[in-house]
């Protein structure tokens, strides 16, 4: 289209979602760099591959080989540009970019089971590792010895820690565990920081203190997330429920049972809206109303392609009845973008307060980038508050 000034204007159609298939195997975990031009992911083996965005394609620029077991968690610190990885070999490595190559530094976690998840703290001076040893290792750098040291949070954890998320104050840590509980711990390390100010979850925060423990949901807690302010925490558990707790004198919990398969990952996209995804292979929106302390289903976030409805012949109908005891013409083909469970969700732009784009990776080896504004306009009845 040419306007009166003779300048060619091109309208870029913003896609609601763009899918890229990296592998034929599951993507175990992923992390983005600060400007979202590079993604580090584990292709279901002992390595970490870093891909760089190249127009519409992705090219592999680095391969990080050091782990002796599957890499279960990757986190990329945006400011200090360091990557931390953890794996089933019970180790964690901090990688720093020296020139053109990533150099690893071993961190002794003192665990005797696999590490399952790792997260940098907001100030990037600590990171926490959840493991099957029924404890959380909080690691910080000791300048005198030029070495990463770790402290353990053990009580009252009774099973594997599956997921972690840090509170914006750099001290509180939410952990979801296989003992069916979501807890908020204090991970205050006096060697690297000042005493924290009081929060909605409490004011006394010695290391290892339990500030909040969930009740009411059964099932392993697969995903946990603090809201942008840190006053709310959401978790998804294996009994197909999602719950939000709001800190205060007494924590207020709201949970929602869903009719779908369990959700594996959850994140806040605004202070009141959550996006979660899991074994049903599509992301779902939930809305939290703090006045009623209630969580409600906001809508399915996958725009399916309009599949041509072909008419069924009488023979096909009879065959269906004979084979499947139903005359339904629904084929056993997933209409969603991801063809297998979504295992991780990450925010790309806008932070947890006003997320504009988020990314999902799954067991189908694919990565999808979802645009929130376009999704909102594409689906009627979808309101992100």
């Amino acid at each position: 289209m040419i306007d009166s000034g003779g300048v060619l204007c091109v309208f870029l159609e913003e896609a609601a979602m763009s899918y890229h298939s990296f592998l034929l195997e599951p993507i175990s975990c992923h992390a983005w760099n600060k400007d979202r031009t590079q993604i580090a992911l584990c292709p279901n083996n002992h390595e970490v591959h870093i891909y760089k965005k190249d127009g519409n394609n992705w090219s592999k620029i680095h391969v990080l080989k050091e782990h002796n077991g599957q890499v279960t968690g990757i986190d990329w610190a945006p400011e200090s540009n360091r990557i931390v990885t953890c794996g089933t070999d019970r180790n964690a490595y901090v990688w720093t970019l020296k020139g053109d190559a990533w150099k690893p530094t071993l961190v002794i976690l003192r665990i005797n089971r696999a590490a399952r998840c790792v997260k940098w703290s907001p100030k990037e001076n600590k990171f926490a590792v959840g493991s099957g040893s029924r404890l959380i290792s909080v690691c910080y750098f000791e300048k005198d010895n030029d070495w990463w040291v770790c402290k353990h949070i053990k009580k009252p954890i009774r099973s594997t820690i599956l997921c972690l998320d840090w509170h914006p104050n750099n001290v509180l840590l939410a952990a979801g565990s296989c003992d069916f509980k979501c807890r908020i711990f204090s991970a205050y390390i006096k060697e690297v920081e000042e005493k924290p100010a009081p929060t909605a979850w409490g004011s006394k925060m010695p290391f290892g203190e339990v500030m909040f423990e969930s009740t009411g949901t059964a099932g392993w807690v697969h995903g946990v997330c603090f809201s942008d302010s840190g006053n709310r925490v959401a978790w998804a558990s294996h009994d197909s429920t999602v719950a939000v707790a709001e800190g205060g004198k007494t924590a207020v919990c709201a949970s929602l049972t869903s009719e779908t398969l369990p959700l594996l990952c959850v994140t806040f996209i605004t202070e009141n809206s959550l996006v979660a995804a899991g074994h049903d292979c599509y992301p779902v929106l939930f809305v939290y109303d703090s006045n009623k302390a209630a969580l409600s289903f906001g809508g399915k976030l996958d725009v399916p392609k309009q599949s041509a409805q072909k008419g069924m012949t009488a023979r096909e109908r009879f065959q269906n009845l004979d084979k499947k005891a139903t005359t339904d013409s629904k084929e056993a083909v997933l209409e969603s973008v991801h063809k297998n469970s979504i295992s991780q969700i990450s925010i790309l732009n806008g932070g947890k307060a006003q997320c504009a784009k988020f990314c999902t990776t799954g067991m189908d080896g694919g990565m999808t980038i979802w645009d929130v504004k376009t999704l909102e306009s594409a689906m009627k009845d979808l309101k992100i508050v």
Binding site: R158, F180, A218, T241, T257, L261
Partner: protein, 153 residues
């Protein structure tokens, strides 16, 4: 062949019992859970002239013996639920399921699967009809909750 002269009693020891890190569920008070009231449910099934089956369904889903330690209480409750479910006509099942709320549907699903465990004459056929209607009301999520429940009816 060599004769086994060494004792093999060690093979009968349950090592998990001696594991000091063994996960033990929290004990919730189960003494007050007696299961649904038999008399109330019976009267609702038999009430004349119109059998109040919807009321019977609501009544039988009250007081589920989830934490009860006595197995008899649980068996009695299951038997009662089965009795109510069998009294429904096939065409009324859908309406009955619609009248339940979310927790009711989850509880119904728990009783249905409990009933599958010990099949009797015609119970499985009736339970399958109820299962189909409960599934369309509660979705696969309700089945997932039956599988993940640590304490069930």
């Amino acid at each position: 062949m060599s004769k086994n002269t060494v004792s093999d009693r060690f093979r009968k020891v349950d090592v998990d019992e001696y594991d000091e890190n063994k996960f033990v569920d929290e004990e919730d008070g189960g003494e007050n859970q007696l299961g649904p009231d038999e008399a109330e449910v019976d009267s609702l099934i038999r009430s004349y002239p119109f059998r109040n089956l919807m009321g019977a369904l609501q009544a039988v889903l009250k007081n589920p013996p989830i934490n009860a330690k006595n197995q008899n209480v649980k068996d009695r409750a299951e038997g009662l639920v089965l009795k109510v479910l069998s009294s429904f006509k096939a065409s009324d099942i859908e309406k009955a399921v619609q009248s339940l709320d979310k927790t009711g549907v989850d509880l119904l699903m728990k009783y249905i699967y409990k009933g599958f465990e010990k099949p009797s004459d015609n119970s499985s056929a009736i339970l399958l009809q109820w299962h189909e209607k409960a599934l369309s009301a509660g979705g696969v999520g309700s089945i997932v909750r039956v599988l993940t429940a640590r304490k069930t009816v």
